[in-house]
């Protein structure tokens, strides 16, 4: 195999491997975010004065969860729940909600 063909092959195979991996990450993010729906609504569209998460920039959700974890943000319950998720899981959840359209309900 020529060096050029080798390089093209490497790029193509990386892309081919990356697409399913990305889809898997998106599915995992979707599944994780669904654990929040009981209070924050389906896909983050909350009702009854609960905090909506749909469309919230990922950095804001990540920062809020970090503050709940450390206790610097006072809460009735979120300090207990935040500690149940890894930072990587919180990042995935935040990305998922950031990509959701607020329903305006």
């Amino acid at each position: 195999m020529s060096p050029l063909r080798c390089a093209v092959y490497a790029v193509l195979s990386t892309c081919a491997a990356a697409a399913p991996a990305l889809a898997q990450q998106a599915t995992l993010a979707r599944n994780l975010a669904a654990t929040c729906a009981n209070c924050h609504g389906t896909n983050g569209n909350a009702r009854a004065n609960m905090k909506p998460l749909a469309g919230v920039p990922a950095a804001d959700t990540v920062a809020a969860m970090a503050d709940f974890k450390t206790g610097s943000q006072p809460a009735t319950i979120m300090h207990q729940i935040a500690k149940g998720y890894s930072d990587e899981q919180i990042r995935l959840i935040a990305d998922h909600f950031a990509a959701q359209k607020p329903s305006g309900k």
């Binding site: 599915t27 209070c39 009854a48 935040a82 500690k83």
Partner: protein
């Protein structure tokens, strides 16, 4: 009319399937695709492409309804039929406030129209048999539904044989359980309204595990709140088979002492053996004494819903369905996903509506992956939040997060996470009602 048409569709599909069964799974899939086509559902998604499979969901409580909703939301082109015996969804969470007179039954009742609108077929009926080999279920009327994957969310049924005379007393209406919301909720409310001032309300709690661990203590509180205001000479007697309060112990002890000291008496290790009558009063027969009551509310010992037993899925302690937590499939029957209270709980996992909703999402994701030939998520997470009212307005919570542990093949709570309220608060009472609105909407696609 809607109900009739969905039943008719089910029958015609069964006939088509029966006729084409020799063609095998491929025929079943393409026919299911037809059923989901122009003459079928009104869902926005899933009508443009052939169905990837047929899922029958038995039970329209928190588990089954959420499974139907999320199979449509995430799967799109999954053909979903939900079979439920009641015409409407009546929520157990918040129903204690109906018993206390602080909410109406309408406040905790929701329709299945949201699920219909997202393309699930809702069939009102009672499933009497599951044929796992032939992959079909049969209703009391004889109608059959074929499936590729079955979701069973049967809730609990009662172990009547554990308490002498109880089934007959409940059948006659003399004693109510009110541990399934609906007619039983209203029946207990009526009994409390008819009880004379100075009467005794006794509440029997079975040994754990049972549905909704804090539920009985919440009920004791809200009934005491009602009686203190409306019939202040009355008494609430809590007869607990357990050695101590099984959930939110410190918070309930505080509420009992601070709000209901004069009216509520809590007795641990008070297991109910038999019920009877004496001179017009109801009798709760314990091991060493008989207790008289004007209203006797018995939460009976529980096991997985009867349909799980008759289908041969109960494999733990002759009571519960053991499941593979990655997919929620019954250990006894791959291809049948069992959710909610009927399952043998993972460590520290409560039997709650919230948890059944979370089980359903694990199952929906796994079923869609299986139907598409994708890998099942190896790292599922579920969490639980449970609010209990200690008065008409103030509530307390318990929360937990459960991550899948691959080595032990079960869900385990994350060390340092979860916990209970620091104190009962009005704020948490408002959040409890907001939790209910969001959870009902998430479960029923409202």
């Amino acid at each position: 009319m809607k109900r009739m048409s969905s039943v008719t569709r089910g029958i015609s599909r069964r006939r088509l399937l029966a006729g084409g069964s020799a063609l095998g799974g491929l025929a079943a899939l393409s026919l299911a695709g037809c059923a989901g086509g122009p003459s079928g559902t009104s869902g926005a998604s899933g009508t443009s492409s052939a169905s990837i499979g047929r899922v029958v969901v038995i039970g329209g409580g928190f588990g089954g309804a959420t499974a139907a909703r999320y199979l449509r939301l995430w799967g799109g082109n999954v053909d979903v039929t939900l079979i439920e015996r009641n015409p409407d969804f009546v929520s157990c969470p918040i129903s204690n406030l109906v018993i206390g007179g602080f909410k109406t039954i309408g406040d905790v009742t929701r329709s299945y129209d949201g699920l219909r609108a997202v393309g699930a077929q809702i069939v009102q009926g009672d499933v009497v048999a599951i044929d796992a080999g032939a992959r079909k279920v049969r209703l009391a009327g004889g109608t059959e539904y074929g499936y590729d994957r079955l979701v069973l969310s049967p809730g609990i049924d009662f172990m009547w044989e554990q308490v002498g005379g109880l089934q007959a007393a409940v059948d006659s209406g003399a004693i109510v359980h009110s541990w399934k919301a609906g007619a039983q909720t209203l029946a207990l409310r009526r009994q409390l309204e008819s009880m004379p001032d100075g009467g005794v309300f006794a509440l029997s709690i079975p040994k754990a595990p049972y549905r909704c661990p804090p539920g009985p203590y919440e009920r004791a509180c809200v009934v005491a709140a009602y009686l203190a205001q409306a019939k202040p000479r009355s008494k609430v007697l809590v007869l607990d088979a357990n050695p101590e309060i099984t959930s939110k112990k410190g918070l309930f002890e505080k509420a009992f002492k601070e709000h209901y000291a004069g009216i509520l008496e809590y007795r641990p290790n008070a297991e109910l053996k038999e019920v009877g009558r004496q001179a017009g009063a109801l009798l709760a027969k314990l091991e060493f004494e008989d207790v008289k009551a004007d209203v006797l509310n018995v939460v009976p010992p529980q096991r997985a819903g009867d349909i799980a037993r008759s289908a041969g899925l109960v494999n733990i302690n002759d009571r519960w369905v053991g499941v593979d937590w990655l997919t929620m499939q019954a250990q006894a029957a791959p291809g049948i996903h069992v959710l909610g209270d009927a399952t043998f709980s993972a460590p520290l996992m409560p039997k709650s509506g919230h948890m059944a909703n979370q089980h359903a999402k694990v199952a929906a994701a796994a079923i869609i992956a299986q139907l598409r030939g994708d890998a099942v998520n190896p790292t599922p997470v579920v969490m639980n939040t449970c609010y209990s009212f200690v008065s008409a307005s103030d509530a307390v919570h318990v929360a937990s997060v459960h991550q899948y542990d691959a080595a032990e093949k079960t869900f385990k709570t994350v060390p340092g996470s979860g916990g209970v309220s620091s104190a009962a608060r009005r704020t948490e009472g408002r959040i409890a009602l907001a939790w209910a609105e969001n959870t009902w909407a998430d479960t029923l696609a409202l």
